[in-house]
Symmetry: D2
Subunit: 313 residues, 4 copies
């Protein structure tokens, strides 16, 4: 993939925004967490952070939103740093083939979630970060990691969302208790879920998210030079995002967009263009698979127009 | 990914072969088709066909073997040429999350296979090639396509394998009848399976297979210039290979190898390096997931040493 | 349960018929076998054969209909006579918990059907009757058994229905091939299914069916004195009818009717009142679970009014 | 079924006990609740309470044990009294076809448990008893019902077992939270499970249990004359016990024993002989299906020797 010039990329991002803005409001805002349902359904933002150091934005790219499951990319990077390949004893690496909060698979596979991006898997990852820590410390570690990656200390947890998740997260309670029954949760359910609900309630803007994800496009390094993860680990996290990042629509996302990506029910998606850029989009309306409807279309259009794809130039 | 010089690549391929040759015989040769069980378990071949026009080989790279499910890549390309996106009404694009010949998913999803690379999906793809044709003609079309791609008219069906499959393929009979019950098979089961069993019994060498797959690394074009599929379609076939090409070990293959690939129970694997090369490996011993054990390791090692990965340089 | 006098029972049967006749036509006639769809949806018959030797009828009780899955009771009795408890190595005795033609369970349980009354189980039972026989002989044995039980040599196969089943029975083809893949079918699929389709196509009237089933209410003996099966085996067949005789509505039938019963998609149901009577009802319209809608209601009403129930007087 | 004389029955019960006592210790004591694992594995008791007013005992028939899931019969009777057929909107009546604590079925059927005797269904039943009550009151109602039925106010909850269940019941926590996510639990999970764990921890002897269950053999009435449930409801509870009372071995129990029964992981089983008697057996070692191994054999032998069976004399 040939790098695009900054002005060209600027024009393309603006063009995608302009072409899709008329469709704002598409899809259904997640309402299973009451606090999430309050967001303005017309919101729509895009940000592209390039390995060259540019951050190009359009629309509501500076407005913070609830990153929800996009947080799973960052906790996975932390947990791999802490446990290395040992983490894979507790969680698999295969696409799930069922809905994102499915408990069926857990029963068939004896409490080992299929991958770190379905809820059960992400709860195990968070549980692994609790080892030797109080919940407050584990959450602090996650926030500090995001501050470091995005070079922005203003990123915080939206406490109203966190409380809302805690009050209504019965499925996650079920998943966590179920894995505890199989011995695959090492801390009391309430502590692990406490951290998990707060991590999902972290609020970030598209611009912050794109900057935070850029190390995955940059061989595991900050563009300012520091190493975050090894080159090989960055690749592997990208591989997991591609095969498992969109629940049971991962195959479709790979087919249509052709880039590693991770979506959240808050309407955000982070996508990685290896060697080139990290892209964050946000639009709260979700499609039938629980991924941002307009966000997916924006990524598809942008990939088409830029020629960005991991599957061939 | 920076292209490697021909001598460098030569040395790398030979090195991988030399380092793994001591492990020949690893894994278990497929025995559910009696004729397949007769192959020499010590066989081990590699071939890399580059977009620059080189074909580098090592070991048993010129010996023909039964390509089995690798054939599904080529029938998919043909069927997309015939039906375009209309094909997706009859088959999905999502990883399956269950074993390669699973019938459970078919029941849950009313006869629509999850993707074109599991057996049920590939049978539908073959059925779609039968429209307006006699079985002999449909099979002829598949063979001619391979002759054209590999520039080699010596590729033929191994009739002994074809007969062996026909006599023992009860699961495929079950799958086909099941889809027929849902109306998703348009021809008599025996005709469709007749073509399918013959297509799986096509014999090719690693060198032929790498050359035949090269268009997927070359934006859909032959390196001699002719167009096979559009650039976009080539990408999309690569995306499907990456998310679904290794049955329920697709996630692991993406994680470890980082390239689109399609395996067959004959022990062959075709992998694509977009912009650079097509790789074919062959070793009949299979791992627990039904993919070539040594072949997978060879691809992992070669990807590591060449730096080839779709997920970042 | 106190026996009812013949005149009382006569009045009760007539009463049930009269009360429900206005609802004839209820439910949907099975149409997956074209020949079955031709039956008059207004048909409605009842017959009660008592251990005292009476046969009380109402409505279309003398009209022959396709007994379909009710035949499974009789082939089970034959197969237990031939194989004894050895039969249970090939088929289970548990309710299935899924739809009557489900293939999911077969995959999870490695080709062993859950019970002899779901299609897969009945196909195995029929396969066991083929041992040492030609299909024609096996079918002859089944017909002779029915002639003997009903004391009526006029019972025959409806050849048009048999042909219709053979031409459209893709799911049964799938089930049979699937079990063959697991080694749980011992004869070629076509032979076993040939007998199975013909056994399902046997035509009997309510009166014939009630008489044929009477040995199950009479401790395994004909009321004229001959032994058919042991007392213990009669009990056990009744137990299987109660727990498994109505596919995934067996629990509901036990709850509402309280008698062992076996239904067929032709709209017939055979129910057993231990010590007292065998009841046959027929009405072709099926409810959502694939059991005769009016037939189930008729049995419920008759059980209520007679006080017949195995669960307490 | 002809009633047996008291001396005959006495001799039969003693005979069964004597013949099986050498096998005491068979099976594996449940250890998933630590407190249950402390029971003496050699324990073995039988009690038969007849509708004629006799209570015949053998072995450890007066020693209290943890009734566990046998309690579900009594809470079901209470809940049907409170809600009538309205209860069936929240729980089904079909055999489950999967293990007793399976969560898979709940997902497929949107939070509606298959029947009131699997854990999920029994939790819903208990939840329904909480309506308008504090947990302490609901538990009190259950205990008073047992005191009334067994005419014995000494029946109490084993608090050590209750605490043990509460500390380790992760699967039940998962089930309850899961149903809450579907809106099929109307009270906070902790309250409902609090009552449920205490109800399972009720300790009763075989003699108490047989007396408490006798109304189900007596057309819903106490033998001293009071009505507990209607005749029809008693039948229907018996029907549910027969089709669903032994988890995924209900079919086998019906086949071998031929009586409605409900087992618990404490090793107790309550069986009903309509019109004649209620039987309670206790032996803590469980078979592979989680039902008392020796208890099941004792019931099978007793049924054989008495001729008791609902499926024919």
């Amino acid at each position: 993939m040939t790098p695009l010039s900054t002005p060209d990329l600027h024009a393309l991002v603006e063009g995608v925004y302009a072409d899709l803005a008329p469709f704002r409001g598409e899809g259904a805002v997640a309402d299973y967490i009451p606090q999430l349902a309050r967001v303005d359904p017309q919101s729509f933002g895009l940000a592209v952070a390039t390995t060259g150091g540019d951050v190009i934005t359009a629309g509501d790219a500076l407005a913070p939103f609830s990153i929800q499951s996009v947080s799973k990319v960052f906790t996975l990077a932390l947990a791999l740093g802490k446990w290395g390949d040992g983490l894979w004893k507790r969680v698999g690496r295969e696409p799930s083939g069922t809905a994102f909060n499915s408990i069926v698979q857990l029963e068939q596979e004896k409490g080992i979630p299929r991958n770190p991006f379905i809820n059960a898997g992400a709860i195990v990852v968070t549980d692994s970060l609790l080892a030797g820590h109080q919940p407050r410390e584990a959450l602090g570690e996650i926030l500090r990691f995001l501050h470091f990656l995005a070079d922005d200390e203003s990123i915080v947890v939206d406490q109203a969302v966190a409380r809302s998740e805690q009050a209504t997260g019965f499925r996650n309670q079920a998943l966590a208790n179920y894995m505890r029954a199989f011995g695959n949760l090492h801390h009391p359910v309430d502590l692990t879920l406490g951290v998990y609900f707060h991590q999902c309630a972290i609020a970030m803007s598209c611009a912050q998210l794109a900057k935070a994800g850029l190390f995955l496009a940059n061989a595991g390094r900050l563009i300012t030079g520091g190493s975050v993860v090894s080159r090989e680990r960055a690749r592997r996290i990208n591989a997991l995002m591609l095969t498992c990042g969109h629940y049971d629509a991962s195959g479709d996302f790979a087919y249509r967009v052709g880039l590693p990506g991770k979506s959240g029910v808050g309407g955000g998606i982070l996508a990685i263009v290896p060697g080139q850029a990290a892209i964050a989009v946000w639009s709260p309306g979700l499609n039938a698979n629980g991924n941002s409807a307009l966000g997916t279309r924006a990524l598809e259009l942008l990939a088409q127009r830029t020629g960005w794809s991991v599957f061939g130039g």
